[in-house]
Amino acid sequence: MTVMAPYRSTVEPEARDGFGRLLLAEWTKLRTVPRWMLTLLASVVLMVLVALLSAAGSESTGQGGGSSDPARLQKIDLGHYTYQPLAGDGEIIARVTAQRGGGAWAKAGLMIRGSVERATPYAALMVTPGHGVRLQTGYENGGAGGGTAKAPRWLKLTRSGTAVTGYESPDGRAWQRVGSVRLDKLPENAMAGMFVAVPDEVEVQRQFGGESVSGNPADTGARFDQVSVSPAQPGAAWRDRGAPGGPAADPGVDGRTGSDGTFTLKGTGDIGPNEFADDSTKTTLTGVLIGQAAIVALAVLMVTAEYRRGMLRTTLAASPRRGRLLAAKAIVAGLAALAAGLVASFGSMLLAAPMQRSNGLEPPPLMDGTVLRAVLGTAALLAVIAVFSVAVAVIVRRSAPAITIVLLLLLVPQIIATGLPLSVARWLDRLTPAAGFAIQETVTRFDQAIVPWAGFGVLCAYALAALAAAYWLLRRRDA
């Protein structure tokens, strides 16, 4: 036998074996199966349809009247506030001698703010029966501080430029700094005073296998003495901002009495997020619950179709490094879902807006940071769901069980939760991949199970764990 010169591939010098090429190949695979592209389209259409459906069914509930900024509807700024003008830098000191009613989160203390108009910036230092002395600003939950201090307590709130700093003391001599907040645009002529506020009592009622939650207004009261505002404004009178509703306000629960430097304030309602606000952004975007089914099916099929027809062998022949292959598949599935999600979520918001307006509702402002987070987060949510589906499909290798498992993990906690007591439902929404849907929340509601980013993190953790398992199995298993 004659020995020939070994054959050299004529195209090898042109071949570029890069990760980018692998991504392109996976994208071509996805693009060239028509029914997969239709599935992607179906997910978008389903989501937008649900948004339109919910917008058509939405009605102005009356309490907001549709007139004011919807972002403000999600904040409540109630309670009773007794104040004096405060010109320039200065401070207010008072002692809370007693606090009565309203539970662990009843608030009594001092407040500096630029305007008494509702839902405007403020800084408040307060004592609570169950959560110590706290400095609170804005309309998110919480506030800084804590401890076990209770009334009677000395409080001091000082203003210096835009900075407001709070101090507390047991005796009015040894002051302890609680914290400091910055109130941008605080006008030169601000207000300083005392306030009481109390969150609504959340009442859970169980009947006929369902739970209804209602917020009943609670009332609270507190006594203040040793009040001093400096620089003192000679002749300045104390003024009041009480419950809205004017003449109907019940003096038994809202008002101020007192003399000789002693004040007794009574009030109802809280300052902070409105825990019963409608989350219209989330409602508009809830179509993702249905649209995700198409995304899950697509991402699973991208993997299982190869297993079923033995095409995975062809794929692995072209790209034998399996970790890179898994990464390429996950990225392509994720990006396709992200693109569909972006189209669907922006489309939902934009198309639903005119219908919401015609129903007397102000649509959520798209450029608001929180709303934008929910809208972009919905697309990101679909992307992570797609990655999770790819990983589960690699683990399971068959379409039917893979789709069932992923959909069950995402959907069932949310649906079963409706029949369960609130406390149990919250744990389901925290611990299952369904926690990821928290990224759509723009209102901190009473039934919030997990904060948006943490919930998204839970879903990401599931996706990463599944990817790791898929990687390990893919490397270890024969194809």
């Binding site: 649900v50 459906l53 919910s54 069914g57 939405s58 009605e59 859970v204 009622q205 169980r206 009947q207 006929f208 296998g209 739970e211 409602t283 809830t286 619950l289 249905i290 089914a293 198409a294 899950v296 099916a297 699973v300 099929l301 299982t304 079923r308 379409s399 039917a400 069980p401 789709i403 069932t404 959909l407 069950l408 959907l411 069932v412 949310q414 649906i415 079963i416 409706t418 029949g419 369960l420 007591p421 149990v424």
Partner: protein, 264 residues
Amino acid sequence: MTAVCALRAEWTKLRTLPSTWWMLAAIAGLTLAVGAAVTGSVDTSHCSTPAGCMEDTPKLALSGVQLGQVAAVVLGVLAVGGEYAAGTIGATLAAIPRRSTVLAAKAAVVAAVVAVAGTAGVLASLAVARGLLPGNGFTSANGYPPLSLADGPTARAAFGTVLYLVLVALLALGVGTAVREQAAAITAVLALLWIVPIITRLIASAKWEDRLDKIAPMPAGLAVQATRGLERLPIGPWNGLGVLAAYAAVALLAGGALFTLRDP
């Protein structure tokens, strides 16, 4: 004669697949596990009085079927979709050329095994709930007699739940025959079952919720589990199950028609 042969053949086919046994175990297991978890987590603390809860304890005990039905769906789809995936449908039709006979035999066998697994899950759920409920305040003194099949409505709920599972499996079989692709069929059936419970969460209109609950397979079908407050239901127990039965019948007929008209 052919019918008997077809039945025997389908039974052997179903019996010899490990996935069948997994799904049957899942029907009973999920129904029991979820039912026990739900029953164990509900107590009377959020009610004005324990009697004021008006808790529908048999329905609570059987709520695990909401998850158990998923296994019934997968089983129903696999019974025919698995044949298309594996290519054995050719051999099946070579042996029994009459499509309607094949589908009827499949339906009978699937219905029988799901009924057995469903009965096991339902009885176990009721037994476990009977043990759990008094500890959570649902005692006879508070107006919640121990669960018993001797009680008419409870027996109807239990029997109806088994029928519900069977009908869901038949619905899945019909859709699986029509669609052939397992992934598509499972997604479609799960969507059909769950879509209305999801949508009613979005629509804050009681009127629409009632309308949808009347015509949607899962909420209507599960009305058969109600033993209290029947006058408050959007649809009566047996009528509700009838709605689901209509869905299953339409799916089976459509599947059968396509099966007959189409080349395998």
